[in-house]
């Protein structure tokens, strides 16, 4: 895979996390990397550990109760996981920034847009208030907000949801970050606004060379914007690869099941969707076997014995499944 040959901007190795008192890891041995200017999507259902992974990298997970079990995360030749909170504070909002799902809760309701937008520039870049305001206007123009002068004096409640999310993106861009982590950036928005926001983010990666990690459960968004995809289940990455491999040559039963359970707008009224049976597992009750086994159609006896390791099957495509070679027939049915 060419992305790994280039120097990666962020390189996470063997990240494991747990919450105090719990026996199981909420994130278990996760490794991935992101190259400059590329977009990595992390997909998975609620509770699979995708948001916790992102929050831990940003140092936004309260510790305790959370604690690192193992792992390194190299960003700019420094290990994010071993930095003091002060050093991490210098990087956060500066070299790397985060966009959250809820634009209403990630903006301070009692501060004007202008104050919130200039704060990181004044704090991190040492800009004067005037210079920061000038740049704030430019940023608002960049994210497609008209009348920046008026908007800077307004409060978050004056703005619509889509507008607020643009402000949050502008804040993330304020210090010219190299990496943006977006946790469900458009889930709370309408599809037309979602398209506007994602198109904007795509342009940013292209023009500014920003690397992007998008965390989402929307497989359509992933198909449209991802270069690489990590599929997570019960705290682990179970499949990873370039987007077209994941969608056209899935080699993990869970990925396949996800693809089979999404209704698609380009398909006629079908007879039936083919959902994954059962519920996602309770992380505290996992055994040593594969965590997807109880819901898996391909499970054999040996799946209960140990958790399959992520194995490379070529072109940077990895899958953690003992039965990965037996999926082909069903894959053909889905992909056609």
């Amino acid at each position: 895979m060419s992305a790994s040959a280039r120097s990666d901007l962020l390189d996470v190795r063997d990240l494991s996390l747990r919450f105090k008192g719990a026996k199981a890891n909420v994130v278990d041995g996760v490794s991935f990397s992101v190259a400059a200017g590329s977009t990595l999507c992390i997909v998975g259902e609620s509770g699979c550990g995708k948001s916790v992974t992102a929050l831990s990298l940003m140092g936004l997970l309260p510790m305790p109760p959370a604690e690192f079990v193992s792992g390194t995360a190299r960003f700019d030749d420094r290990d994010l996981l071993s930095l003091s909170s002060r050093d991490l504070g210098d990087i956060r909002g500066n070299r790397m920034a985060m966009i959250f799902q809820e634009p209403m809760t990630s903006l301070n309701p009692v501060l004007t847009i202008g104050m919130q937008l200039t704060e990181p520039m004044i704090a991190h870049l040492g800009m004067s208030e005037e210079a920061a305001m000038e740049k704030a206007k430019k940023l608002l123009g960049m994210v497609g907000i008209s009348e920046p002068d008026r908007r800077l004096a307004q409060y978050p409640h004056h703005l619509s949801g889509g507008m607020r999310q643009r402000v949050v993106i502008a804040m993330a861009l304020a210090c010219d970050p190299k990496l943006i982590i977006a946790d469900e950036p458009t889930t709370a928005l309408d599809v037309t606004i979602q398209a506007q926001i994602l198109e904007l983010m795509k342009d940013l990666t292209r023009e500014l060379g920003v690397a992007m990690i998008i965390i989402t459960h929307n497989l359509g968004v992933v198909a449209r914007y991802a270069d690489r995809v990590n599929v997570m289940y019960a705290g682990r990455i179970i499949e990873s690869g370039v987007a077209s491999d994941i969608y056209h040559r899935p080699r993990h039963p869970y990925t396949l099941a996800l693809l089979k359970s999404v209704p698609r707008m380009d398909r006629q009224r079908e007879a039936k969707l083919d959902p994954v049976d059962g519920q996602p597992p309770d992380l505290t009750k996992l055994d040593e076997g594969c965590s997807f086994r109880p819901r898996c159609r391909f499970a054999k006896d040996h799946c209960a014995e140990s958790f399959p390791a992520l194995e490379d099957i070529g072109d940077g495509h990895t899958s953690a499944c003992f039965e990965k070679d037996n999926l082909e027939k069903e894959v053909k049915e889905v992909v056609g």
């Binding site: 056209h248 999404v262 698609r264 009224r269 039936k272």
Partner: protein, 343 residues
């Protein structure tokens, strides 16, 4: 579409699937919410025109989808049919009678036949009641089954129908996952043996794999109990999958109404086209080949909607006339209705 299909069409907003008995007839429905100013002596200064003259019919046995962005009036339309809001104007004909004229006593009988499933299974179930009580309460209130043992039997039956074990009757909502709670919401709606269920974003809050389970359940129940659904959703992929006909709303107006497959393959209204274009398809190769035409701007305020066609400020094909003339819904193809003068 085949001729057999088009032959069976009803005269007005006709269905293409051979559903020809009108169950609910919504005529020129308007719902204006007053905007007041002043704390002690509030006076009405404006109106939010949430629904502004919407007409459509729902046929027995079909699933009619209503799609649109937030604030387009799709939920308000559903709430008006349920009489949870008293419409400002218009008629809702159910079994030959205009139920907007009904008082609350008369509505009791209607409510047995029309049920609703809400989006949020967390807030639509009473946290202090056991699941069994939640499902049996409507039967008790409406005196459907007076015998307690019989009622419990039906609760267990409904739970099983919705894919839950009978033991769930003794649990509280907080002990269940989102998907299981939504199944309880569905079981409660079924308790009254309704004919018509309004599903307001019924699967929107659920994870992909659970969403598919609940969609399948809704489809199975539709066949088993001859249900009619009004399926309100912003998720166009789900609507494509489950609905026979689809209505598109924008800023309180119905802009397009057609057979589901027809609407998605051959959209006519410029808003529908842009809306469909915005929906990503889970296939990277298809996505690469699609032109991503982005709809500009945001929805204008429903307090002061644009004159003429409400969509004209964002419309790529608008002409001067669109600022003046209010387009009426017209049938441009059999069963395909659109409100645009430029189509």
């Amino acid at each position: 579409m085949s001729e057999a299909v088009t032959q069976k069409r009803n005269t007005r907003t006709g269905s293409s699937e051979g559903f020809d008995e009108v169950l609910v007839d919504v005529r020129d429905l308007k719902m204006y919410f007053p905007v007041t100013e002043g704390v002690f002596i509030p006076r009405v200064v404006a109106h939010v025109k949430a629904v502004d003259g919407v007409s459509f019919q729902i046929f027995r046995g079909e699933t009619l989808g209503v799609v649109g962005e937030s604030g387009c009036g799709k939920t308000t339309t559903g709430r008006c049919i349920l009489q949870l809001e008293k419409p400002t104007a218009g008629e809702i004909i159910f079994y030959g009678d205009d139920i907007t004229k009904y008082d609350s006593k008369q509505m009791i009988d209607v409510r047995k036949k029309i049920q609703v499933i809400f989006q949020d299974p967390y807030s639509s179930l009473n946290p202090r009641m056991k699941v069994g009580e939640i499902i049996s309460e409507p039967m008790k209130v409406h005196n459907i089954i007076t015998n307690e043992a019989e009622r419990q039997k039906r609760v267990r039956y409904l739970l099983n129908v919705c894919g839950l074990a009978s033991a769930f009757a003794d649990r509280y909502p907080h002990e269940m996952s989102g998907g299981q709670r939504q199944r309880v919401g569905i079981a409660r709606a079924l308790a009254m043996d309704p004919e018509f269920i309004i599903c307001d974003e019924a699967v929107s809050a659920l994870d992909v794999s659970i969403q598919a389970q609940v969609i399948n359940l809704l489809e199975d129940l539709r066949d088993e109990f001859d249900l009619t659904y009004l399926f309100i959703s912003h998720d166009l992929s789900v609507v494509r999958h489950i609905c026979h006909r689809v209505a598109v709303m924008y800023l309180g107006n119905l802009v397009e109404l057609a057979d589901g497959d027809e609407l998605f393959e051959n959209p006519l209204h410029p808003y529908t086209k842009l809306l469909l274009n915005a929906v990503p398809i889970p296939d990277p190769d298809i996505e690469k080949g699609r032109a991503h035409e982005i709809i500009k701007g945001e929805i204008p305020s429903p307090i002061n909607p644009p004159p003429g066609c409400v969509f004209h400020p964002r419309c790529p094909i608008a002409v001067d006339n669109c600022k003046k003339e209010i387009p009426q819904l017209r049938e441009v193809k059999p069963g395909h209705w659109v409100a645009c003068t430029e189509v």
